[in-house]
Amino acid sequence: IVPLAVSVNRFEVPQAAPVAVFKLSQDFSNDQFPQKVNLGVGAYRTDEGQPWVLPVVKKVEKIIVHDDRLNHEYLPILGLPEFRSSASKIALGDDSPAIQEDRVGAVQCLGGTGALKMGAEFLRRFYNGNNNTKTPVYVSAPTWENHNAVFANAGFDDVRPYKYWDAENRGLDLAGFLGDLESCPEHSIFVLHACAHNPTGTDPTQEQWMQIADIMMRRKLFVFFDSAYQGFASGSLEKDAWAVRYFVSMGFEMFCAQSFSKNFGLYNERVGNLTIVAQDADNLKRILSQMEKIVRTTWSNPPSQGARIVAITLNSPELFSEWKDNVKTMADRVLLMRAQLKAKLQALGTPGTWDHITEQIGMFSFTGLNSKQVEYMVKEKHIYLMASGRINMCGLTTKNIDYVAESIHETVTMVQ
């Protein structure tokens, strides 16, 4: 008897397009060209072009492996307490009045993505009424491509762009940004990049942040920071957290999704923290209790390894100091590559202005290359970058920077 297979067409499942940034890495992997360069996915690389496990992380992992008191038991639903509090302190500052007033809480999440997800799910359920899926969510134009999906999948019907990048002048479109803040529906949610904007590398100045904050306060807009590069942008934790701390001091009730993927190099351990600044301790308590319900139906409780590494590091003065040095090492190398790339392009007399390479900050640079030029770079020069013209500065090394500069020069002169 031939077993009767259950209904053949249960699923109408079309093939989905691959996520662009991973496809790029895949193509790079498959490329045999000896001088190929990967300027795609956002992960730090040493000057040898290798991944870098931070020395402090190696040290702490040894501590963990040799500590017989540790086991693999479940963490609490909201995560490792010493991780959550120390992570929030990193964002808000040790002496943050909001923390002292007991109105700051946190949810340990699976990376920055997980923190955005938890925040989005909470907002969809409880913000601006109950289950108000019509509340507009504004993300910058352009933004990290996953922002759209995170909020849409959390149930928001209306995810829209706010003006941000001025392509013509290769800088911030402040007037456009402020204009959108003034004209958007009240109570709209805004996803702000705390520093090192992805993908443009262009951040508002402090004065500009103050203008943004004023309008958001007046128009009752919700502040949702995405902080994936604290320390990585300027090399200083404090400097990179200025905007977040300013908004807290303004009295906003806000969320800040933190990632420790880049600044701790803990990409695959999925270490993130959703910091919640509430009006008071009672609000905070209720918020956290509802967050638990959302966590429980998504992943029950978060993974322990990465959070332990971060908690041990942040809570030990020596290790904390060592970590800051490691972060500065990474930030400094990026700054060096920026300076050298710009210098070489200028020396080559490459058409156009290249100041934006050093004016921009963080891991990424929006080169200004158009899609035809990008295609040329990939196909003819075997230099892999995103169709938007975004390059990962970490992909540059002293060994390949000449080739990259020359290739950009060739591309810009040959392809319009």
């Binding site: 209904s7 989905a16 479940y74 409880f126 999948n153 609000n283 209720r286």
Partner: protein, 429 residues
């Protein structure tokens, strides 16, 4: 600002209109004024209450986490060995693919389906690494919600793991039930189950616990599974297996996977959630897998692409540590052997505790029939205690368990089984 938030009115200061609006807004509104206090999680909340109790004799029989005979968490030696191997390799920490660590997913599927499975040979399964069992169920629920052509109704056994309902509901599916547990026998309501299943509308989704049913510990016998398979086939239902205790039920991983493998042989293209929290003691590392058995490799590729689209906006890619440990154990013959021995050991200790509890109750002079404590299988025992009796057991004896009368046998030791027998007898005599 803070003074204003606390309600102090600045009445004597001249302000601009904007400042007044700002002050009034701060004074009267929080975004979260309407957010209610959520209830404590019924299962995890038990542990939290247990922690607060100061009674030295307290027992935590709530959450299903294995304890050794000293009542301590048990880190498997194969896990420690795997960790040492991994440390020595000095691997980097680059992002895993969205679907997780390839060597893990492959080994995970093999463990469930059997290395010689035709499904694996033909490549018609897609298996992705997930955030333990919960994450797997959630991805599965999201996938079905988006792509299932039939009614978005999931039929759970009555009762089922408490978290099943909110997971599927959050994913946009409706929850229904089929009879499963018979309180009069503390056993399987086979007739009731078949009866209910025979009435389930075609193409609905039916959830089956592969082994060691949670919370009852009551599993169908093989002949019963065969009849269930037949009726499920007749009704053309989509089978969603939840296997969180492979190895933990009987002590034998192949025996515990029998139902899953039988259904596949019978032609059911199942979806399957696996957890390594219990059987490898990797609870907090969050190691799990989600499998869709498809018609062919081509369908599997399409399904894989859509699973990635679902996963990416939740957490981008899964955590490495636990999956690496699990893969190392499963793929290193020595470690795999040790693991099988340790799983067997854990299952055996639980079986022994069941026997000792029943013996203890007899000794206390209980006149009730406690045979079900021995007949049930896996980590949990559905004692048959009613909510009022559970409450007394907690209040008077500091024995913590869930309201439905479920106890985690893993929390019972030779040192406290006598006390537990005393308590249960006291509230049931």
């Amino acid at each position: 600002n803070n003074d204003v938030n606390k309600g102090v009115i600045l009445s004597t200061v001249l302000c601009t209109d904007e400042l007044i609006i700002h002050l009034i807004w701060c004074l009267y509104s929080s975004w979260w004024g309407g957010v209610q206090m959520g209830p404590p999680d019924p299962i995890l909340g038990v542990t939290e209450a247990f922690k607060r109790d100061t009674n030295p004799k307290k027992m935590n029989l709530g959450v299903g986490a294995y304890r050794d005979d000293q009542g301590k968490p048990f880190v498997l030696s194969c896990v420690r060995k795997a960790e040492a191997i991994i440390t020595s390799k000095q691997l980097d920490k680059e992002y895993l693919p969205i679907g997780g660590l390839g060597e893990f997913s492959k080994a995970c599927a093999e463990l469930a389906l059997g290395a010689d499975s035709e499904v694996l040979k033909s490549g018609r399964n897609i298996t992705v690494q997930t955030i333990s069992g919960t994450g797997s169920l959630r991805i599965g629920a999201n996938f079905l919600s988006r792509f299932h052509g039939g009614p978005l109704d999931v039929y759970l056994p009555k009762p089922s793991w408490g978290n099943h309902t909110p997971i599927f509901r959050d994913a946009g599916m409706q929850l229904k039930a089929y009879r499963y547990y018979d309180p009069s026998t503390c056993g399987f309501d086979f007739k009731g189950a078949l009866d209910d299943i025979s009435k389930i509308p075609e193409q609905s989704v039916i959830m089956l616990h592969a082994c060691a049913h949670n919370p009852t510990g009551v599993d169908p016998r093989p002949e019963q599974w065969k009849e269930i398979s037949d009726i499920v086939k007749k009704r053309n239902l989509l089978v969603f297996f939840d296997m969180a205790y492979q190895g933990f039920a009987s002590g034998d991983i192949d025996r515990d996977a029998w139902a899953v493998r039988y259904f596949i042989e019978q032609g059911h293209n199942i979806v399957l959630s696996q957890s390594f929290a219990k059987n490898m003691g990797l609870y907090g590392e969050r190691v799990g897998g989600f499998t869709v058995v498809c018609n062919d490799a081509e369908e599997a590729k399409r399904v894989e692409s859509q699973l990635k689209i679902l996963i990416r906006p939740i957490y981008s890619n899964p955590p490495m540590n636990g999956a690496r440990i699990a893969a190392t154990i499963l793929n290193t013959p020595d470690l795999r052997s040790i693991w099988l021995g340790e799983v067997h050991g854990m299952a055996n200790r639980i079986i022994k505790m069941r026997e000792q509890l029943v013996a203890g109750l007899k000794k206390e002079g209980s006149s009730h029939n406690w045979q079900h404590v021995i007949d049930q299988i896996g980590m949990f025992c559905f004692t048959g205690l009613k909510p009022e009796q559970v409450e007394r057991l907690t209040k008077e004896f500091s024995v913590y368990m869930t309201k439905d009368g479920r106890i985690s046998m893993a929390g019972v030791t030779s040192g406290n089984v006598g006390y537990l027998a005393q308590g249960i007898h006291a509230v049931t005599k």
